[in-house]
C-alpha cells in the first residue's frame, strides 16, 4: 500500500519537475499553479505512504537509506511549498528543489529498503529520545543545506544574469540580496541542526554502542562536511564572505552531502552503511 502512495507521489513530483523545466525554458508563468498544486498533492500522497510504512513495519522511518532519501525528498518539497507561499518570487526555487526532491525519491526506490543491518534490533520506535533527536536534527539539517544549495544556485543564476546584463524577464526572479539573506539563514540552520544531530548521535552511540562508532565511515564524512559548513559560517560572520563566496560553500557542500549520504552509505558497511545489501 505504501508503495502505491509513494509511487503516485513520485509521479506528481516528476510531472511538476517537467513543468519546471518547461517553465524555465520558455519563461512563462502559466504553469506556476499546476506546479504548486502538483507538489502539494504529491506531498499528501508521500506523507500517507511514509505513515503507512512506519505503521506496518513498526520501525522508526529513518533507519534505512531508502527511508532517509524518501524523508529528505518530502522535506525538500515541503520547504519549496513553504518558501513559494511566503514569497511568490521564490517559486523559482522549484526549478532546483522539485527535481531534487523527485530525484531523491526516485533514488529511494532503487536502493535497499531494509534498515541498516548494524541497527537491526538496536533501534525501534520505542527507543530513547536521543536516537529520534539525532535522526530528526540530522535530516532537518540536511534538508536546510539542500535548500541552501537551491538558494545558492538561484543566487548564482540571478548574479550571472545581472553581470551579463541579460535583463529580459529578470524582475520575475528573486532579488539577489534576498537570496543571499535567506541562503545564509538556511546555511546557518543547516549547520546548527547538523551540529545538534551529530552531538545527539554521539551521545546515543556512546550509550548504546560503546566506543567503536568513532571510526564509522559515515561519521568521518559527516565530520568533514560539518567542518566545511563551519568554515562557511565562520568566514561569513568573521570575514564578511557573502554573496558568491558564501553560496559556493553551499554548492560544493551539497556535492559532499550527496556523496556522503548516498555514496558512503552504499559503499561502506558500519553503523550507517548498507554495503552488501541487494
Amino acid at each position: 500500500m505504501s508503495t502505491v502512495f509513494i509511487s503516485v507521489a513520485l509521479l506528481f513530483y516528476v510531472a511538476a519537475a517537467a513543468l519546471c523545466v518547461a517553465r524555465a525554458r520558455s519563461l512563462v508563468t502559466r504553469f506556476n499553479v499546476w506546479i504548486r498544486w502538483g507538489t502539494r498533492i504529491g506531498v499528501v500522497f508521500h506523507l500517507c505512504g511514509m505513515s503507512v510504512l512506519a505503521w506496518t513495519t513498526g520501525q522508526w522511518p529513518l533507519t534505512g537509506l531508502a527511508d532517509a532519501l524518501s524523508a529528505l525528498s518530502v522535506l525538500v518539497i515541503i520547504n519549496y511549498i513553504a518558501l513559494a507561499a511566503t514569497r511568490p518570487k521564490l517559486d523559482a526555487l522549484g526549478d532546483v528543489l522539485i527535481p531534487l526532491g523527485a530525484a531523491l525519491l526516485a533514488t529511494s526506490r532503487f536502493v535497499p529498503s531494509r534498515p541498516v543491518p548494524a541497527l537491526s534490533g538496536v533501534v525501534d520506535m520505542t527507543d530513547a529520545v536521543l536516537f529520534p533527536l539525532h535522526t530528526v536534527m540530522t535530516f532537518l539539517g540536511l534538508t536546510a543545506l539542500f535548500v541552501a544549495f537551491a538558494l545558492g544556485v538561484a543566487y548564482l543564476t540571478v548574479r550571472r544574469r545581472l553581470k551579463a546584463k541579460q535583463l529580459e524577464g529578470i524582475t520575475s526572479l528573486p532579488a539577489l540580496e534576498v537570496l543571499d539573506r535567506i541562503h545564509f539563514r538556511f546555511q546557518l540552520i543547516g549547520f546548527v541542526a547538523l551540529t545538534l544531530g551529530i552531538v545527539f548521535g554521539a551521545f546515543w552511540a556512546n550509550m548504546r554502542l560503546g566506543p567503536d562508532w568513532v571510526t564509522d565511515p559515515k561519521i568521518v564524512s559527516s565530520m568533514l562536511i560539518w567542518m566545511w559548513y563551519a568554515l562557511a559560517v565562520q568566514t561569513r560572520l568573521a570575514l564578511g564572505w557573502r554573496g558568491r563566496a558564501g553560496v559556493l560553500f553551499s554548492v560544493f557542500g551539497f556535492i559532499g552531502v550527496v556523496v556522503s549520504l548516498v555514496g558512503v552509505t552504499l559503499l561502506f558497511s558500519g553503523w550507517h552503511g548498507v554495503a552488501g545489501l541487494g
Partner: protein, 415 residues
C-alpha cells in the same frame, strides 16, 4: 534653406564610440570656434548629450557626409556608417524630433530641451548662429513645448526611472534600508532619484561639482548634500549610486570602487551611470558585489508599457510633421521677403547711383522737378520689379528645387 545636421547617436553608435566624440558643455564654444575657422560662412550649433553628438549647420550648399564629418575635428578611425547626415526639411524634422525628445533613447525625457537651449545659447555667444539657424532652433523650442503639452510623451520617461528602481530592487529587494548617492544634478538622475525617494529609501545623498546645485537637488528630496571631495567616503555607506557628471575622465575608478568594496565587506553596490562619457569605469562591473548599468541597459529594461509610449510618440510625430510642413513653407516666405528686401535695396542703390551720375543735370532742376524725377525713377524701379517680386511671393517652395539659389547669386555682393 541650406540647413543640415551631421551626427551620431545611440542608434548608430555604441556608447564607447559616442564618448570619443562627446564635447563637454564647457568646451562647446571652443569647438564651435574651430568649426567656424574651417568654414567661415557656416552657421553652426553643436549639441552634445549622453545619446548624441550633432552639428547643425547652414551653408549655401549642403556638404557631403565625408566633408561634414570633418567638422568634428580629427576623427578616430571609425566607419562612416555610424554617422548620419540630413538636409533641409529632413534636418528640420530631425531637429524638431530631437527637441521634442522623440529621438531620445528615453523617449519623452525632459533633459534634452535644456541641453538644446544650452547649445543654442553657446552658439549665439560665439556668434556662429545666423538668421536661418536662429529661426529653426527657436521654432524647435516652440514645437517641443507643444508636443509636451498636447501629448503624454513626458510620461514615457517615467518608465526609465522605474527601470532604475526595478533593477535596484533586483539587487536589494526592498529599498527601505538603502542609501542612495547621486553624483551630478542632471534631470534623468533626478528622475531616478525621485522614483527611489518614492520607494522610501533610508537616505539620499547628493554631490555635485557646483555644491549649490547639488544642495538644491538634495533639498527637493529631503536629502543631504556633500562636497565632491567627500564622495570616496560616501561610497562606504551608499548602496545605490547614480552618476550624471560631465568630464572626460571617469569620476569613479575601478580602484576607488574596489577599495570601497573592501571596506564595505562586499556588501553589494549598485551603480547607474547616466554620464556620457561614462562616469564610472566600466571594469567596476567586474568587481565582486558591484553592479554597473548605464542608460542603454535601463532603456532596454523599460520595454514594458512600450505600446502606450508608442501611441504618445506617434501623436507627437504627427505634430512634428505638421510643424515641419508649416515651417518649411514659412521659411520659404521668409526667404522670399529677405530676397525681395535685398533686391529692393540693390535696385534703390542703382537708382541713387544713376541720379548721382546725372548730378550736372539734376542740379539745374528746381525742387519740384527734383521731386518729380525722384517719384518717376522710384515708380520705374517698382514697376520693373513688381512681376518678379510677385512671382517670388507666390512660388511654392515645398516642391523640391531651390529657386532662391539662383536669385541669391544675383545679389551676392549686396548681401
Amino acid at each position: 534653406m541650406g540647413l543640415f545636421v551631421i551626427g551620431l547617436n545611440h542608434e548608430t553608435a555604441p556608447v564607447a564610440l559616442r564618448e570619443q566624440f562627446a564635447v563637454e558643455p564647457g568646451r562647446l564654444a571652443q569647438h564651435l570656434a574651430l568649426v567656424r575657422s574651417q568654414d567661415p560662412g557656416l552657421e553652426a550649433m553643436l549639441l552634445s548629450t549622453c545619446n548624441r553628438v550633432e552639428l547643425y549647420g547652414v551653408r549655401r550648399e549642403s556638404p557631403s557626409l565625408e566633408r561634414a564629418s570633418h567638422y568634428f575635428g580629427k576623427l578616430p578611425p571609425v566607419s562612416m556608417e555610424h554617422f548620419y547626415l540630413r538636409t533641409d526639411a529632413d534636418a528640420v524634422r530631425h531637429l524638431f524630433r530631437v527637441a521634442s525628445s522623440l529621438e531620445s533613447m528615453i523617449v519623452g525625457e525632459p533633459e534634452i530641451l535644456g541641453q538644446l537651449k544650452h547649445a543654442y545659447s553657446v552658439a549665439n555667444e560665439v556668434g556662429t548662429t545666423g538668421p536661418v539657424l536662429q529661426r529653426v532652433v527657436e521654432r524647435a523650442f516652440s514645437v517641443a513645448k507643444r508636443v509636451r503639452s498636447d501629448t503624454e510623451i513626458g510620461r514615457a520617461s517615467v518608465s526609465v526611472a522605474r527601470s532604475g528602481v526595478e533593477l535596484a530592487k533586483q539587487v536589494f529587494g526592498e529599498l527601505a534600508h538603502c542609501r542612495v548617492l547621486v553624483l551630478g544634478a542632471g534631470e534623468v538622475a533626478a528622475g531616478i532619484a525621485r522614483a527611489l525617494a518614492a520607494e522610501g529609501v533610508a537616505e539620499l545623498i547628493v554631490s555635485n561639482r557646483t555644491f549649490d546645485r547639488g544642495a538644491e537637488l538634495a533639498a527637493r528630496f529631503e536629502g543631504t548634500a556633500i562636497p565632491f571631495s567627500a564622495v570616496p567616503d560616501a561610497l562606504d555607506r551608499a548602496d545605490i549610486v547614480l552618476t550624471s557628471v560631465g568630464g572626460r575622465e571617469p569620476v569613479l575608478s575601478t580602484k576607488s570602487v574596489s577599495d570601497a568594496m573592501r571596506r564595505r565587506r562586499n556588501r553589494p553596490l549598485f551603480f547607474v551611470d547616466l554620464g556620457v562619457p561614462r562616469n564610472v569605469d566600466v571594469d567596476v562591473h567586474h568587481l565582486e558585489g558591484a553592479f554597473l548599468f548605464d542608460i542603454d541597459d535601463l532603456a532596454r529594461l523599460s520595454n514594458k508599457g512600450k505600446d502606450r509610449r508608442q501611441t504618445a510618440a506617434h501623436e507627437a510625430d504627427s505634430i512634428v510633421l505638421e510643424e515641419v510642413e508649416r515651417f518649411v513653407s514659412r521659411i520659404g516666405e521668409l526667404d522670399a521677403e529677405h530676397l525681395i528686401a535685398a533686391w529692393s535695396r540693390a535696385a534703390e542703390g542703382v537708382r541713387q547711383q544713376e541720379i548721382d551720375r546725372s548730378q550736372n543735370f539734376v542740379s539745374e532742376l528746381d525742387e519740384q522737378q527734383k521731386e518729380q524725377l525722384d517719384r518717376m525713377t522710384k515708380s520705374l524701379v517698382r514697376k520693373l520689379l513688381h512681376r518678379p517680386f510677385r512671382a517670388l511671393r507666390t512660388m511654392d517652395t515645398t516642391q523640391g528645387d531651390d529657386p532662391w539659389h539662383e536669385l541669391r547669386k544675383m545679389f551676392a555682393d549686396e548681401e
